[in-house]
Symmetry: C2
Subunit: 196 residues, 2 copies
DNA sequence: GTCTATAACGGGATAGAC
DNA sequence: GTCTATCCCGTTATAGAC
């Protein structure tokens, strides 16, 4: 069973999902290495030993967290783009979906994906890279269309990388208690890149 | 003795500096938690116990690494800006210095600063935040000047954050073996933000 | 499917000799 | 300033009862 299979059917085995969601928060807050299997068990009301009925190793939990975060975001982005009627709306979707995922629903899992990459074993990386590439391919398509329509500059491959960097970095400084909503932030970041 | 004092005089105690540099590489490659004091000792030809003559705790080494990375970069940026003759040259300096530091000289230490923040104790954070704020203040000044000269858009506070995010992210994908030099990359990233 | 108990190991840090 | 030896603790993972 591949990484993707496990997470495209969230209904299967709700105990697993419950654990993955709890792990996402713990890994984000404390880091993967500092989070013990006892912490994980505690979070879902299990003894540490019982975890190993659901996952073979602690790392398997980490991979499941990352796969969930990126898959869910890709799905949302795909659906939103499909509904958009023109290049401008698709471009806007990139910012809104990415930020609402990163600063909202999938915050914990995506932060883990961004900051715990080094803890993923070489064996598990390829599967996750496939998922990431799928997400970035969506971005590339939309940016190419936007450039063709004169909405953004032509250097779209570098543009994709700089924009993704900008958006990722927002988790470091954005405060939901501040005056700026996530959607407002998306609009202002979009404005910075539009040629008008 | 404060964090800054220790690192503004690199001559004092070259054993310390040797250790900090080696630690930067290990922390970047393996992560702080996965790097043991035995690894650190090995890297400089010391037994693990001997490290504790130079530093009281492992975390003190982490803080020294971060302080070194950010201080050295701030110094370089300050010096380069001082030599620049107009807003356009100062703006350009932001990109060139940041990237040559992040992808060159101070790569390891700066990556540790970006990716191991969670491992810094609450007690040590304020000192590092002061150093980071000093660096970002330089950026803000230059961007404000550039906006006043019509070189970039007016939303300079958000612009600072998005640009720093873009630049930080470059460590994730830039390959020095590729066709693109660091200076060329800086120019192309600058071009993406210029209003022409 | 979960619990208890524990194996097997490696971690940071200290003490005292040199 | 460095080494050796070691303390003490927490870690992941397993085994077998229930």
């Amino acid at each position: 069973m591949s990484v993707q299979d496990k997470n495209n059917q969230p209904e299967e085995n709700s105990r697993r999902m419950e654990l993955v969601r709890a792990a996402a928060k713990l890994f984000r807050d404390q880091g993967y290495e500092r989070t013990t299997v006892r912490d994980l068990g505690n979070a879902v009301g299990l003894q540490s030993g019982s975890l190993f009925y659901h996952f073979r190793t602690k790392e398997e939990i980490l991979v499941a967290v990352m796969a969930l975060g990126i898959s869910a975001t890709t799905e949302q982005l795909g659906a939103t783009i499909a509904r958009a009627r023109n290049p401008r709306d698709k471009l806007s979707a990139l910012f809104h979906v990415h930020l609402s995922s990163l600063l909202g629903d999938n915050q914990a899992a995506l932060e883990v994906m961004l900051y715990e990459w080094r803890s993923v074993s070489a064996a598990a990386k390829p599967g996750l890279i496939v998922l990431r590439d799928r997400y970035e391919a969506l971005w590339q398509e939309v940016l190419d269309e936007a450039a063709a329509a004169g909405l953004v500059k032509q250097d779209t491959r570098l543009l994709r990388r700089t924009l993704l960097g900008s958006l990722h970095w927002s988790v470091q400084w954005y405060k939901s208690e501040g005056e700026l909503s996530v959607d407002e932030l998306a609009e202002r970041m979009l404005a910075l890149v539009l040629l008008k």
